[in-house]
């Protein structure tokens, strides 16, 4: 039996909560951006692509710092939320936002691959059969890009489980409030007497990731067979 402290269970719960919330929050935006990049020809498309993929190449700490500037009390967005009585920094919401931003490129990338695999003639067929663009979007593009959507979601969920750099900057490391598994491991690793506890959480982290990735692979195969 792996030894786990009550705060470890909190960290596991928070990790799952944050990852799920970040994935669900990003889904509609990810779908919209993937659709825009794949099907709409517009000026500045390359710029959008670069901006979407930027968090993938930046150190997460840098992303976290920018988020801190944006969401802080005096930040552009933070001040608006603050005026509405909503505090973001050092809350679970900030952890969700950090995970959403860092995992967003993976979600869009997978969805885009799914959408690019759709035969454009199917979209043309739908339009000539009387479907408006949003009808085509819902009845052809969405179901046919579903494998990409599932793949992207599971990748993003897995990435969110491991998110550390951006989260610690904007959400801090508050046990039971914002402390997710990686943050808890970091805390254990910083203390010379908590090696076993750190290892226990590492094993839990690996187990959760393996389950998610197995689910991802089996669903991807199932979808491929179906199509």
């Amino acid at each position: 039996m792996i030894p786990l402290a009550p705060t470890d269970y909190d960290a596991i719960r928070l990790s799952l909560q944050v990852s799920l919330a970040a994935t669900l929050l990003s889904l509609p935006f990810g779908f919209a951006v993937a659709y825009l990049i794949t099907f709409v020809r517009f000026r500045g498309r390359v710029l959008v692509e670069v901006l979407v993929n930027l968090p993938l190449t930046l150190p997460p700490v840098v992303v976290g710092y920018f988020l801190l500037l944006l969401l802080g009390k005096h930040g552009w967005l933070g001040s608006l939320f603050n005026a509405a009585g909503i505090r973001l920094i050092f809350t679970l919401k900030a952890a969700v936002i950090a995970c959403a931003v860092v995992g967003f490129p993976l979600l869009v990338r997978s969805m885009r691959i799914g959408m690019e695999g759709i035969d454009p003639q199917l979209i043309n067929a739908s339009r000539t059969l009387g479907a408006r663009w949003y009808d085509t979007l819902l009845t052809v593009i969405l179901p046919l890009s579903f494998p990409g959507l599932v793949a992207g979601s599971s990748l993003m969920f897995a990435r969110s489980l491991g998110e550390f750099g951006a989260t610690i900057i904007v959400a801090g490391n508050i046990p039971g409030v914002t402390q997710t598994i990686p943050l808890a491991i970091y805390e254990y690793a910083s203390s010379p007497t908590s090696e076993t506890m750190a290892l226990s959480l590492c094993i839990v982290s690996v187990a959760i990731s393996l389950v998610v990735l197995f689910l991802h692979e089996s669903m991807a195969k199932k979808m491929a067979r179906k199509n």
Partner: protein
């Protein structure tokens, strides 16, 4: 149907330019690959916007660069049958069929689903997915789906080119019967002269993005006889065959033909190239060809470096091709009597 198009679409190295008005319910667009057929179809369907011009269908303006009119594809009521079937892989056969039907305004929903399913023989397939259907079944479903949308014009963009020969000729009767049964005019796109002659009356011929002629499918085939490697293909409607020694005797109007190929059907269509008909001025004493037909020369026409001879064989028409020297030597003139010899193996029964 009356269709007027005066449009131009530039793609850099390729420009589609056409100015034509066409009447009729069975119209063909003929041209080799790269002649602009598919671009024209996309423009008509509203999938590609022309640079300039106007498109009118039955008097209604679908596109006018001058007046800023551009109906979206879903507003045009012009359905398409694509080269590849383009069925929605996530929907069943029934839901594919009903896709356009459900989106067709109620006032236009005049096509009876059951009647269409019966005509296209799709009853057994309705509950199935589309991925495991045969090529012919897929194309029948695609056709049914387009028809059920009750379009005012059906565009068929080389719907037979992805099918093998057997399926190709099996589908043609469906394409024709569905359109006539439900009164939907069509524009049939193909680079096959035989398909053109089986499917349409009027043909618009395209070359390098420009319309080069509006003619009948029959005339087009005659015009191209001299430049075609296979010559002019005679399409002969034959009756049910009977055994005749090692060959099969087919009724052909009032005449009779001996073929080496057997058909099990009551009615068949056989191809015969104009190159496979030898003309004699007099009845030859002995000949190995099993068909020797006494014919009257109806007319002569030139096509490239060949002369086409239109023959009347007991009320049936046959086109043979010869060179000018042969015409002179044999004294072939309209009204003269000649003998046409054809080997039994020269015919090819079209699958169907």
């Amino acid at each position: 149907m009356q269709l007027s198009m005066a449009i131009r679409k530039n793609y850099g190295s390729f420009t589609l330019s056409t100015d034509v008005t066409v009447f009729g319910d069975r119209v063909g667009i003929f041209g080799v690959s790269g002649s602009g057929k598919s671009t024209l179809v996309s423009v008509l369907a509203g999938l590609v916007e022309p640079d300039v011009g106007e498109i009118f269908l039955n008097g209604e303006c679908l596109f006018s660069s001058l007046n800023g009119i551009n109906f979206r594809p879903e507003q045009r009521r012009i359905a398409m049958v694509f080269q590849q079937h383009c069925l929605f892989p996530h929907l069943s056969v029934k839901n594919n069929l009903l896709y356009g039907f459900k989106r067709c305004p109620e006032k236009y929903r005049s096509i009876d689903f059951s009647a269409l399913v019966e005509v296209l023989k799709l009853e057994e397939l309705l509950g199935r997915g589309v991925t495991n259907l045969s090529g012919g079944e897929k194309q029948r479903v695609a056709l049914g789906r387009a028809i059920l949308a009750n379009p005012r014009l059906l565009l068929m963009d080389e719907p037979l080119s992805a099918l093998d020969d057997t399926l190709r000729f099996q589908i043609i009767p469906y394409l024709k019967s569905v359109s006539s049964e439900f009164g939907i005019p069509y524009l049939f796109i193909s680079h096959s002269l035989v398909e053109m002659r089986l499917m349409v009356d009027t043909v618009l011929a395209f070359e390098k993005g420009v319309m080069v002629g509006q003619t009948t499918s029959e005339q087009l085939a005659r015009n191209r006889m001299g430049s075609s490697q296979v010559g002019y293909i005679n399409l002969l409607k034959l009756g049910r065959p009977s055994d005749e020694g090692s060959l099969y005797a087919y009724p052909w109007g009032a005449a009779r033909l001996l073929l080496s190929e057997k058909s099990e059907r009551d009615e068949s269509v056989a191809e015969l190239s104009s190159k496979d008909i030898i003309i004699f001025k007099q009845h030859p004493e002995a000949i190995s060809a099993r068909n020797l037909l006494q014919c009257k020369v109806c007319s002569l026409f030139s096509s490239g470096r060949r002369i086409g001879v239109e023959l009347d064989c007991a009320g049936n028409t046959l086109i043979s091709e010869v060179v000018q020297d042969a015409v002179n030597e044999l004294g072939i003139v309209p009204g003269s009597t000649v003998f046409a010899a054809v080997k039994a193996s020269a015919f090819r029964i079209l699958p169907g």
